[in-house]
Symmetry: C2
Subunit: 151 residues, 2 copies
C-alpha cells in the first residue's frame, strides 16, 4: 500500500516528507512482524537484541557500556533490559573482580538455546521481506538509506 492510502491522506504528499513517512511506517511494519515471531518465546525485540550481542561476545563477558555501544538505540536502558533477561535465566550478571564498577554479563545455555531456535525464523523474516526486491535493488536500497543519513 502507498503511504497516502495508509494515512488516508486526500492531498498528495511531498516526496521529502514521503521518505520520512515511508521509513517510519516500514519500521513499524518490521517491528510488528518481528514481535510476532518473538511473542511465543516471551522476549521483546530489545531483549532479543541484547541476547544477540551477548552471543556475539563468544563467551567473553560484556559490560553494560559495551552492550549499549552495540545497540541501535544507544540511550535505551540496558540495566532494566538485562534485569528482565536475568529473571528468565537467559543471562548471568556479576560484578567484575578487577574493577568493581563494571558488570559482567554472560548469556546462559538457556539463552543460547532460545536464540538457536529463533535463528531460522529470524532469517526467514528478513528474507521474506527482501525477496520482494532484486539483488540490485537490495544493494541500492541500503546505499540510498546510508546516503540519506550521512553524506
Amino acid at each position: 500500500m502507498k503511504i497516502e492510502e495508509i494515512l488516508k491522506s486526500t492531498i498528495p504528499i511531498d516526496n521529502s516528507k514521503k521518505i520520512i513517512l515511508n521509513i517510519l511506517y516500514t519500521h513499524h511494519m518490521i517491528a510488528e512482524n518481528f514481535n510476532d515471531i518473538l511473542k511465543p518465546y516471551d522476549i521483546s525485540s530489545e531483549q532479543y537484541n541484547v541476547l544477540r550481542i551477548l552471543r556475539g561476545q563468544k563467551g567473553n563477558p560484556a559490560n553494560m557500556s559495551l552492550i549499549q555501544d552495540r545497540m541501535l538505540a544507544k540511550t535505551s536502558n540496558t540495566t532494566r533490559l538485562v534485569d528482565k533477561l536475568l529473571i528468565k535465566d537467559f543471562v548471568t550478571r556479576k560484578v567484575c573482580s578487577e574493577n568493581r564498577r563494571k558488570i559482567e554479563v554472560l548469556v546462559t545455555k538457556k539463552g543460547l538455546d532460545v536464540l538457536k531456535e529463533l535463528d531460522p525464523k529470524v532469517i526467514n523474516h528478513e528474507n521474506s521481506l527482501s525477496n520482494k526486491l532484486t539483488a540490485d535493488e537490495i544493494i541500492q536500497l541500503n546505499h540510498l538509506l546510508e546516503k540519506y543519513r550521512n553524506h
Copy 2:
C-alpha cells in the same frame, strides 16, 4: 556512517539484514532530530502528529477512531495523547450530541499557532535530509520502500 560501524560489528552483515538495520537506525535518527525540534514547544512527535491530523480536518471535528485511522501507529493510545493536548489547551474535546459514544476533538487557536510556528522548521528538517539525494534518488527510495513493504 555505515551500519556496521554504528553497531561496531566485526563481521560483515547480510544485505537482507542490513536493510532492516538501516531502516531501524534511520528511523531512530529521524525521530531523534524531530524530537529536538519539538522539545522547545513541549510536545512529543506523537502529539504533534495528532495536531496535524486535526488541522487537516479544516474545522470539522475529529473523533478518536478517525484520528487513529490517520496515525502511523494504529495501535497507539489516542485517548491519552488527546488528554495531554487538552492539558496544554491545544485541543478541545466534547461528547458528540448525535452519538454520545463519539467524541469530537478540535484543534484550538493556540494549537494552530504552534503548528504554524513549527511548519518551516519541519519542512527544513525534511529537506535537510532529502537534500543529500538527487530528485531521482528520492523517487527511487520511496519506490523501493513501498516495494519492500508490499506485494
